[in-house]
Symmetry: C2
Subunit: 414 residues, 2 copies
């Protein structure tokens, strides 16, 4: 009765490259949103600076605007004298023109008077009377002045298409008065659970039944990754029903993620449902990874379709490897967050079968010289092995394990 | 005219310890929310498992449930014979009781029949006819079975108060049918901008005026850190108006963040406004850091009040050091995300004044053996120096700089 369900297992990296290589960026156009609502979204078009920043010359210190040549040679022993002819009021433009020997009081951020070319710092001056100061230190031309366009020049491309909007981009857009920008709409990602033993989490689990963990686990991950999760509920082990829901989800969404129950039969009808959604269809069936072997990767009529294993840990690991990067590609992320890793020292040996990539949940403990990593050995059925974990370690298929004392890269669980 | 605005500068770490030491966790009680809406929020009370998981014994493979002793000694040469007396239907409880020599077909995840104590894998069997199989391999008691409570036991504390809800916690709560949980309400954080030269970003900036960058920059950061930002607009350089808005914000919110215009006068009245909000008042005035020296840290009538510098880069850096950790304390985060760092090789020397902590924006470039870090030398006035940056490097006050080729820790900008 031995059966070869997986004709050919390929590595996670090969699988990812195959599906990403076949996939196009989503063709959804763009959507104009208020800049303040854009945190975490992807810019759809290059954003250009409409004007320069600063838009006028500004003082970087509190002091006096002067003609720098008037200060040349001045020192504590031989101060230069200036007539104070006014003060730059914050927030107003100053059209004062200085003559030699004149100074204007100015504050940090104030607009530098027309022909002043340097600011003497307050602490390098002494008041003689209300209209006169002594200056003890020479300033060179341009000293303590921010020039027009030093931060940004009109016409500069300030945010490229495909960049994810962080807090600092919002700040920069506000500085230029750009109150709305075109962003990439979030791709709708359908989530379909299946299996006769699976019930909605809100229902009472009679003996033999288990609550659906994956729909909400995946919905949370998909929203963290920039997608819009759409839950299509739980389909029993019935091809007709699965075909109906699959097609509905496929038509309504930009991507479909199945999380199949654990029986062979439900996995078989999931593969059949995927094949019915159009060509080229299934690209990868079976990945050389533990947990996560029965993963299916497909492109159907231009849309990505993924079949994830039913065990929550398997679903978590394979969603992180495949679903995350497919969403990145759909939304056209060029500038991606760096893959965060925590380097930690392993405190227990982990054995692993060579020729297969293994992922193991890790508990981290902060120590004086960094982090200590303790593997959590558990079955992929156990969602609580992830809850007690801080991250996962990946063991390359060429390795037979990791040793105590080894420094390893931990991928954090968010 | 030299003035000592900052009587005593203390290090960022000392400043943070001082304010956190004086601050209590927010007394706001908790709020019941649907579990599926809790991503990123903090659990207010320990969550206890109401029942065990799995709640019944489950098969981990496709095969046949048997009494293990019936298989002892079996091999390819000497198979054991079994009568197949039925099949476990997925999702239904199975009350079949096996006698010696009997087997029941079962699928992965199926409920193990009452007295079966092991599952023989499909591939270790051969069908003789519809009612009989041969078994080629012995199984030991418990083999291929998940036992009741192996994942979680009834009464286990599954999520401690103070833990941030990740996708995996949502999954675990769903597995137990816990559809709502008590979470810590997001603290309201007031943001007050000030300065006669500051205008709302949507207004036209006449000469001498600059748009408010910090209100929206801080609002984005505060929401990323788990607070609820409340913008109170821009206050001109006028003590009476500032007092009015400060008190309103102070009464309505759990924390107040000022971002003062750059003139001395507005900084002075900000300090005065903070002093008017109650004792003990200003705890730290002036931090030994660049950028960010004029930071004010205060506790007024039990609430934290922070005065940030007006320059966007200074505001960004000091908000990351102080505002972030104050919010953590307010919401009682015990389990914090690990401080993410990227290790990179510096490609340019950075000089730094010993005795002062310096923060420098960094551009990262991925190379074959990791990341290369290029410092962006810019003034703290330039928001666009942050936009072109991927992170920041911190230079300890005891160092006089960082050298080309040195491996440095980069704190990513999100």
């Amino acid at each position: 009765m031995g059966k070869s369900e997986f004709l050919e297992l390929i590595s996670p990296q090969e699988g990812l490259l195959l599906i990403l290589g076949t996939l196009e960026k989503i063709k959804q156009g763009s959507k104009l949103l208020l800049t303040e609502k854009c945190l975490g979204l992807i810019v759809a078009e290059d954003v250009i600076a409409s004007h320069s920043l600063p838009s006028f010359s500004r003082s970087t210190v509190d002091g006096f605007a002067v003609l720098s040549m008037d200060t040349f040679g001045s020192s504590t022993a031989l101060p230069a004298f200036f007539d104070v002819i006014g003060e730059v009021t914050m927030g107003s433009s100053n059209q004062t023109k200085l003559n030699s020997g004149q100074a204007v009081m100015i504050h940090t951020g104030g607009m530098v008077p027309e022909n002043a070319d340097a600011i003497v710092m307050h602490e390098d001056t002494q008041k003689i009377n209300d209209n006169e100061i002594e200056v003890f230190k020479a300033v060179s031309p341009g000293e303590n002045i921010l020039n027009i366009g030093e931060d940004v020049k009109a016409g500069d491309m300030i945010i490229p298409a495909g960049r994810r909007i962080r807090s600092v981009e919002i700040g920069g857009l506000m500085a230029l008065g750009i109150m709305s920008i075109p962003v990439v709409p979030k791709p709708k990602v359908a989530i379909i659970s299946s299996g006769d033993e699976i019930i909605p989490p809100s229902q009472i689990a009679e003996l033999g039944l288990v609550r659906d963990v994956n729909s909400d686990l995946l919905a949370a991950l998909i929203s963290q990754w920039g997608g819009k999760p759409e839950k299509y509920g739980i389909v029993p082990d019935n091809l007709e029903e699965l075909l109906f829901i699959s097609r509905k989800a496929f038509i309504e969404c930009d991507m479909v993620v199945f999380t199949a129950g654990s029986s062979v039969s439900i996995r078989d009808i999931t593969a059949e449902a995927i094949r019915s959604l159009g060509g080229p269809g299934v690209i990868v069936h079976g990945i050389n990874i533990r947990p996560g072997k029965p993963t299916i990767l497909a492109i159907c009529s231009g849309k990505p379709v993924v079949g994830l294993p039913g065990n929550p840990v398997s679903a978590y690991v394979t969603a992180n490897i495949f679903v995350k990067h497919i969403i990145d590609k759909l939304i056209g992320v060029k500038y991606s967050f760096f893959e965060e890793k925590i380097i930690a020292k392993l405190d227990t040996n982990i054995t692993s079968k060579a020729g297969r990539e293994d992922w193991v949940p890790i508990k981290l403990l902060k120590s004086d010289d960094g982090f200590t990593a303790t593997p959590i050995f558990s079955r992929s059925n156990y969602i609580f092995s992830l809850i007690s974990a801080d991250g996962l370690v990946r063991i390359d298929e060429h390795k037979t394990g990791l040793q105590v004392g080894e420094l390893v890269n931990i991928i954090p669980i968010y």
